[in-house]
């Protein structure tokens, strides 16, 4: 089952990712991104990150992406102009660079990682309890700092979104 599920959802993720890039309409991209997130959540679950999977869906798909969709609707952003003009550098080297990047990363991963026994569903589970305990003991300071960061972000968003800017 593990391999099957992985293949299915990895496929979905990659497909949605490609879709995100090639679709011209923001809404389509947004939906495909949501697809990526959903399938990633399943993969997290498979890797034993059940809390993080739920958080992924709630926070990312449920809040952030809703914001995106909301903004897209609000601006009523139409399909992207098809006049595909990019800087010369990107036009000539972009794809090449990406291919090189991907190949190198995969090569290094293959070389650097030990050949592990592989992932089996349920072999390890980071329950919400573990996450919470760790988060509020050894990672307490970063946690508080992120809360401050959120606060700052809220204030900044409000300031930016005022009428008279």
């Amino acid at each position: 089952m593990t391999a099957l599920i992985f293949i299915i959802f990895a496929g979905i993720a990659v497909f949605c990712g490609i879709n995100l890039v090639v679709q011209t309409h923001p809404i389509a991209s947004a939906l495909s991104l949501i697809g990526v997130m959903g399938s990633l959540a399943v993969l997290y679950l498979q890797l034993g990150g059940e809390f993080i999977a739920a958080a992924q869906v709630i926070v990312y798909a449920g809040a952030i992406m809703v914001l995106f969709v909301f903004v897209i609707m609000l601006l009523n952003a139409g399909a992207e102009a098809t006049t595909f003009q990019v800087s010369r550098f990107v036009k000539y080297f972009g794809v090449l660079l990406l291919a090189a990047f991907l190949g190198l990363i995969s090569f290094i991963i293959q070389g650097a990682l030990p050949k592990t026994e592989g992932v089996v569903f349920g072999a390890y589970t980071g329950t919400a309890l573990d996450v919470g305990r760790k988060l509020f003991t050894s990672y307490l300071l970063p946690f508080e700092v992120t809360s401050i960061l959120i606060l700052i972000a809220i204030v900044g968003a409000i300031v930016l979104a005022r009428k008279e800017i």
């Binding site: 995100l20 890039v21 993080i52 990312y60 609000l74 990107v90 760790k134």
Partner: protein, 108 residues
């Protein structure tokens, strides 16, 4: 049923390579798309890819820290989305465009 290949365990590398692929896709979106919102979403895609590798490593080492890192990534992403979208709204309000190439007054 270990005989069945679909039932065999998945090497960790697959997850990492998947995350690399998604990351590269995010970069591609960032490079090739002109709509600010889409570019933004590509960034989110990259963040997600990184999260995947975090979780994978956390599985590998049987430690929950990876989950916490990706949790922090999510928080930061939320903050970033809030501010970024506000900026996008403002840009749209002032320039009536979402095309990223037309927002280049920093050049001059």
């Amino acid at each position: 049923m270990p005989a069945n290949p679909l039932n065999s365990p998945v090497p960790l590398n697959w997850y990492l390579i998947l995350s690399a692929i998604l990351f590269a896709l995010g970069v591609a979106g960032f490079i090739f798309r002109r709509n600010i919102i889409t570019v933004f979403m590509s960034i989110e895609l990259m963040l997600n890819a990184v999260n995947l590798s975090f979780i994978a490593f956390s599985y590998q080492f049987r430690q929950v820290d990876g989950h916490i890192y990706s949790f922090f990534v999510m928080v930061v992403a939320a903050a970033e989305a809030a501010v970024g979208l506000a900026i996008i709204l403002t840009v749209f309000k002032n320039r009536a465009t979402l095309m990223i190439d037309e927002v280049n007054s920093m050049k001059y």
